[in-house]
Each structure stands twice: as C-alpha cells, then as structure tokens.
C-alpha cells in the first residue's frame, strides 16, 4: 500500500517511507498481507476461482468443445455425454456458450469496474482534497446518482443507446462509480491535515502531485476491496440487462441472454436456463469472497 512512497526520491516529502526504512519493510509488508490473505480460506477459494475464470475466458477457443454460435445438435436436447450441458433453444452447445460467456462477463465486469473506479476516484479525491464548494457541488452530484434505483437508470440508458458490448461497459461504468467516490472522498479528507501532506505542501509540491503520489497510495486498500466486490455486482447487472434484452445481443453468448432465451423452453428443457444461472452465481460468489479476503488482508488494524 505504501509502494509509491518508497519509490519517491525525497524521503522528506513522504515520511511514510522514512518510517518504513525502504525495501526491506516493503517486502515484509506485502508478505504480511499475503499471509493474512492466505489465512482466510474462502478468500483464497474466491481468488483461485477468479484465476480459473480468467484462464477460461482467455483460452475459450481451446477449451470449448463446439462453436458457441453454430447449431451443432437438436434444439433443447438434455445433457448427454456428447453435449455435457445439452443444447439450447436453437441447437447450439450450452457448455461452449457458457465458456465463451465467461469472456463477456469478465470484459464487462472488469471494463465497467475500471471506468467506475477512474471516475469515482477522481471525483472523490477532488471533493475530499479541495473541500468547501468543490466538495459541496461534487457531493450533490454523488447524491443525485445514488438517488436513482440503479437498474432504472441502467435500463433507461441502455434503451437510449443502441445495445452493444462497448455501450454496456460504458453505461454500467458511468452509473456505478458513486461508491468509490464516497470512500475516496472520506479517506482523502481525513488525510488532508496529516503531517506528511503538510510537509509535501511546505516544500512546494503541487496539488495534483500531492493527491496522486502521497494521498492515493494510502487509499489503495479500500479501493481494491471495492473493485473486487464491484466486479461481482456489475456481472449481475450486466446479466440482468441482457436478460431483459437490453444488454449484449444474440448471437454473442452472454449468460443473462442465455437465460432469457432459455425461458421459451423452460418447461421441456430447463437445463438451458439452469446452467448460466449457476455460472453467474459462482463468478459473483468468487469475486465477493475475494473482496472479503482482501478486506481482511489489507486492513491495517488486523493482527497477524
């Protein structure tokens, strides 16, 4: 968490590094975080599943037994040894679509999270650092965003702009940043009067540099935790949008869209709707557990 401060050239500008006694302490700090993280088994499990999911997404063409978009069997056939999760409403292989769907889920989850994180951190940092009128204005902006039930806002925006992978990432990204802004604002505000910030300012370091080099490194922990939890909730939002027909459009395989398509054959071929729901649940669970694990590991109040 204090990585930035050790790379800083002047030890005066960043007392944290002086206390840390550079390299040695740095390594032990990350080792301690890793040790704390490993101790919390559900967090580890979540982390491992996330790594597996990333692999599945990257190597989807190698793993998937069939094409995700071509008809390879009879429509709605139940799982068999040939088609492990059966065929969907058109006759495509459900397992292959599920595997390719991992790509969409992770692209949207991580993409939208990155946008939200960037906007949220920037706005939160400005509100917290400048305070007064800037804070008053930006805080009302945050309040306004939080006033809308998220899905109502997302559905409206998704309907106004033509649905595509790119637009879904943007639309979700620009609507879910409020939580980052709130956390960063509060943390930056509490750092504003700290000695190392005053020290930096006294030797003439500019505002932007103080925020980026000296304050933000101290807020990295909560941001990472929030980001991990956020990927989970974004994946649920994306799947809900696609389920309602406003997200990723067929034939691109998205888990929410697969669920929606499975509705028509719900009576005779429930497996089409079951599989993507389980995939969503496992993925969201993994990111949430990872987030919980990171929270414990990065919390400086935690004892080893």
């Amino acid at each position: 968490m204090t990585e930035q401060s050790t790379t800083s050239s002047s030890s005066l500008s960043s007392p944290v590094s002086a206390l840390d006694r550079a390299e040695g302490h740095q390594r032990s700090e990350s080792a301690r975080i890793w040790k704390r993280f490993r101790r919390y088994k559900p967090g580890m499990a979540g982390g491992i599943i996330v790594v597996i999911l990333v692999f599945i997404a990257i190597f989807a063409p190698l793993i998937a037994p069939y094409s995700p978009t071509e008809k390879v069997g009879r429509r709605g056939t139940a799982p068999s040894s040939e088609f492990l999760l059966g065929n969907d409403e058109i006759g495509r292989d459900v397992l292959s679509r599920l595997i390719y769907g991992t790509r969409v889920a992770l692209i949207v989850g991580i993409g939208a999270m990155s946008i939200a994180l960037t906007i949220g951190v920037a706005i939160g940092a400005m509100a917290g650092f400048f305070g007064n009128k800037v804070d008053l204005a930006l805080s009302r902006l945050i309040d306004t965003l939080m006033a809308f039930p998220l899905l109502a806002l997302l559905i409206t925006l998704a309907a106004l702009f033509s649905p595509s992978l790119f637009n879904v990432v943007i639309v979700i990204g620009v609507t879910v940043w409020a939580s980052y802004a709130r956390v960063v604002r509060a943390d930056i505000m509490s750092l504003r009067e700290r000695d190392f910030v005053l020290a930096a300012r006294s030797i003439g370091v500019g505002n932007a540099r103080i925020i980026v080099r000296h304050m933000l490194p101290n807020v990295v922990g909560p941001i990472i935790v929030l980001a991990s939890l956020d990927v989970g909730s974004i994946i649920i939002l994306e799947s809900a949008l696609s389920f309602l027909g406003l997200g990723i459009q067929p034939p691109t395989p998205s888990w929410g869209g697969m669920l929606a398509a499975g509705r028509s054959l719900m009576r005779n071929a429930p497996h089409i709707a079951v599989a993507p729901g389980i995939a969503i649940t496992i993925t969201v669970l993994a990111f949430n557990l990872l987030g919980d694990g990171l929270r414990d590991a990065l919390d400086p109040r935690q004892r080893d």
């Binding site: 006033a147 039930p149 309602l244 729901g277 969201v284 949430n288 919980d292």
Partner: protein
Amino acid sequence: MLRYVSFRLLQGVLVIFLVSITSFAIMQIAPGSPVDIMIGEQQVTQDQIDAINRKWGFDKPWYVQYFTWISNVFTGDFGQSVIRTGVPVRQMIIEAAPVTLRLNFLSLIISVLIAMPIGILAAIKRYSWFDYSSMIGSTLGIALPNYWVGLMLIIVFSLKLGWLPPYGSDSWKSYILPVSVLAAQEMAILARLSRGATSEIMNQDYVTTARAKGLRESVVISRHVFRNALLPVVTILGYRIAFILSGTIVVETVFAWPGIGQLFFNSIDRKDYQVVQAIVLVLATIVVVTNIVTDLVYAYIDPRIRIR
C-alpha cells in the same frame, strides 16, 4: 438540531432538482424529437401537434421546456401515455403503485422479521456454527441473481409441481413466488448488515464496562447490546430503498406482476418515454425523501449525528 434539519432539507431539495433535470433529459436524449415520441403511431393533424407544442413548449429553448415540464409535474400532470393512447401517465402510476407497494411491503416485513434476528444473533454468537452457516447462506444469497431464482422457482413450483401460478397477481397464491424472491435477496443483505452493525456494538467500551462490572452475559446482551444495535439495524432499512426498488423492476418483469416495475419495463420496451421519465422521477424522489427522513430520524434519536 434545527440547523441540521434545515441543512439536510436544503440538500434534499437541491438533489431533487438535479434528479428532475436528469429525468427531463431522458425525453431530450431519446431518439426522435419529443413531439414524435408523444405522437407515437397515432395519426395526428397539425392542430394537435400545435397543441402539444403549446402545452410543453417544444418550440422554445430547453430551459423553458424544463420549466414548463416541471410546472406541469407540480400540478400532477406527467403527460399522456403513447401505448395506452390518451391515458394520463399519472393514472397509470396510481394504478400500478399499490400493486408494487403490496409486493414490496410484504417481502420487506418478512425479510426484516427473519434476517434481523439472525444477523443480531450471529454477531452475538460470533464464530459459532450458527454464525458461519447464516453467513454462508447470506453470502450465497447475495451472489444469486434474483431473476434467475425467480425462473427456477417457476420451473419447480409452477411447471413441474403445478402448485403455484407462474404469472400475474390474481390470488394470494400468486404472491408466494415473487415475495419469496424479493424477501430472500433482501434477507441475505440485511442479515449481513445487521451482523456488522451488532458486531460494532459488541466492541464498544460500554459493553466491556458492563461485563467488567460483573453483569451476567444475558443482561449485557439484552440491555446494552440489543438496545443499541436496534437503531443502526432499523435505519439500515431506510438506506436500502434504492436497492429494493431496483429489485422490484426485475422481479415484476419475471413474474408479469402488474406494478410499477413492469410498467417501467414495458414503457422502455415500447419507447413510451413520457411514462419512463415520470417513473424515474417518482422513484428517485421516493429514494431522496426516504433517505432524508431516515437521516432525520437517526439524528433525532442519536444526538452524536447532528454535530458535524
């Protein structure tokens, strides 16, 4: 207190103003001119177009349009639906609101009655099997997409077993599935939040003091922990309103529940943007007002909040 109340109210008014600008923008961003949207598929004469322009001021600059729109909204006139030609949007909302309210009120009561005791008990008996199993359940519940749970319940209880109707809101039986889905999701989150709030109380100095002076654990729990935990736990509810309204949109769509959520989605689907605009404005205003009321109630009961 007066200073806090007026400050908070002023903030609220400002946010509602910003919310109204955002809602107003929906009609402006929507593809096609606002007049086209309002006409929809109808055959209209030039006179009717002129009448629309006169009423909403679409031939004037946007801030005049906003002012005209918000003045109409203040008199309860949200315009007319395009799908159900000529039916005032206000009437559609008034018809749908009670249906949504019944659904959500019921699920909220059920989830509070079940989840809050679980959360408080889990915090009191931290690291017990009860704590672990309830938190595993809660973690799983948060990860489950609600519309998928709804579909699974329809498959099992409606299609396979034939016990409950899959759609509509005709009898008490049709309440069971949608209420269960909404309640389950809210329970998962409420249990977790109540556990967190109660754990915080457990770590307070006054609890340690109560123990140190030799009070029995049951007395410490009932008199010092439980009473103090109740306030943050109950106020959590006030801040949950935006999430609850989000949930109802999807669940109503899955179960064809004729409430605000379904009305909202159908209007989106058929590009009836005046209805969309009205619902977004109404929902966001409800959220802002609920949050303010929660803040004020909290500040009234807990004086520490006022001093900021």
